[in-house]
């Protein structure tokens, strides 16, 4: 049972002060997991929007219902171009998400380290 006194103590020591210690654990555990899932879902949505699996499935089906050989050939060439463009776009987006995940990993460490370094420099120069 959580009594009012316990909840006040929990507010001060757990929610406010304790969160400082909880921060790195969450950031590199659950938080990083959430970012990975978000990036993966966004990439899956883009894969679905581009319909890459469908373009591969209909690779030999002519476009716009034109069934003569010339149209078939043109359709195939167009499909190659579009598939390549979409795959490149998907890879670029994938790299962007990977970079974001990387930034997520290094951001707190770099920011805190640089803050400490610049604080020392500031103190040294001001003294």
């Amino acid at each position: 049972m959580i009594s009012p006194r316990d909840s006040m103590l929990s507010l001060v020591f757990e929610d406010v002060l304790g969160s400082v210690f909880q921060f790195p654990l969450w950031w590199y555990g659950e938080g990083f997991g959430e970012v990975i899932v978000w990036a993966w879902r966004a990439l899956c949505a883009r894969w679905r929007e581009y319909g890459i699996a469908l373009w591969v499935r209909d690779f030999f089906v002519p476009m716009y219902g034109f069934h003569d050989w010339t149209s078939r050939l043109i359709s195939m060439l167009m499909r190659v171009v579009i598939l390549c463009a979409r795959l490149i776009a998907l890879v670029v987006e994938g790299v962007a998400y990977a970079l974001f995940c990387l930034i997520w990993l290094v951001a707190p460490v770099v920011c805190l380290a640089m803050f400490g370094y610049s604080a020392v420099l500031w103190l040294t120069t001001s003294v």
Partner: protein, 441 residues
Amino acid sequence: MSSSPSTISPCPTCQGDPHVALTCSACRGAAVYLPSPDGSLMWPSRMDAATFRARHLRIRTHRIFHAVLALSAFACVVSLPVSLAWSGDWTSFASVSFWQAGHVQVMLWWLGWSLACFLIFRVRLFSDQPLPLPTWGRSKQAIDIMETRIRQKSVAPVLDVSLHVHASVWELLERAYDLAKQVERAEVQPIHLFAAALASSAGGVFLTRLGASFETIRPGLAMLIKRGETGTNPVLSHASRELLLQAYLDAREQHRRYVGVMEIFSQTFSVDEELQTMFDAAGYPPRQVERVAEWIRLQELLKEEHERFAMLAALKPSGIMNRTKTSAHTSLVNQLGDDLTLLAREGRLRPLIGRTRELAEVWRLFESGRPAVVLVGEAGVGKTALLEEIARRMVEEDVPSVLFDQRLVSVSIPRILSGGDVGEAMERLLTILNEVAASVI
């Protein structure tokens, strides 16, 4: 209204007594547990004025702390560009020596970004947002996997239902507590929860939809809330705890995101026979009350579903051509038909309620290779609604593979016949059929 067959089990130490449970170290105030596919459900939160005050204080403290963090992070981060703009020396920003010169703004810049990281963590973990139900937004397959994992555990995990209730439920609980205290009851009974639910915004919608005024039911309700033992400091009764846990199961069954006020309202009404009699005497039969409550829940569910549908619809092409451009140009079909998939994508078609058996039959026929399905029935039975649901499912791409990346067009005979003689109409019909045939891969 649904009710779960699960049976409640009291804490072995305090035997589920709500007063003894206040000091029970085994259940820490939960008193009772309800087995569920998500684990053992419990409601540990205490119900008294001090707890509600502490909750308000906690929420307010978090909000103020987050606002201070956000302002500090913003001020620290912008101090560097502002000082550079002030001095007009933007070129130094790119030099390494600038970052090593010991400027206070550089220190604040890095402090600002560190605070921003901490703020992200705080908002994710310490905002007053409830947690969505573990099953929300998951496919049936994913839910099956999750349930199997829980079943395989030797000891069922304990799930705190109070973490999954909407903020409006906390307001309801507070009102119910105040009401029980006002009428000097020893326990907060389900009827107090019901009365508090009626006073909520959802309760107002319920009364309006039912065509009842609060004054009509007030005398009967005033008598019912005075049932039970008298006392000064009410605690959450065994029945109320069970009701909250059952409301969780109900919300889970309805694929809701959170446990809301209407789940509690429906559960209370379905278990309290005296309440049903009171409504019946006031001229509102229980079935009518249940239907209105279902209607409100359905509206809430549709709102939640709309978010999901809008997200999936954004992935569909916005034109008449399919994704892989395999369909032929269909000028007459476009001219005389209504593209239901496009209308569904734009959110102009209503979702179908029920008719799951008929829809499953349509899918089964398409999957078995039938080229066409004919829907037969009296006017008003829901043939058009079924078609519109098929169009919506095609937008969601939750359809058999034969309908994947296709469009559903509705062509009406009066439109083909209008503006010409019968011979021209027949010609138009044949052209439409030819265009459709040419579009099929």
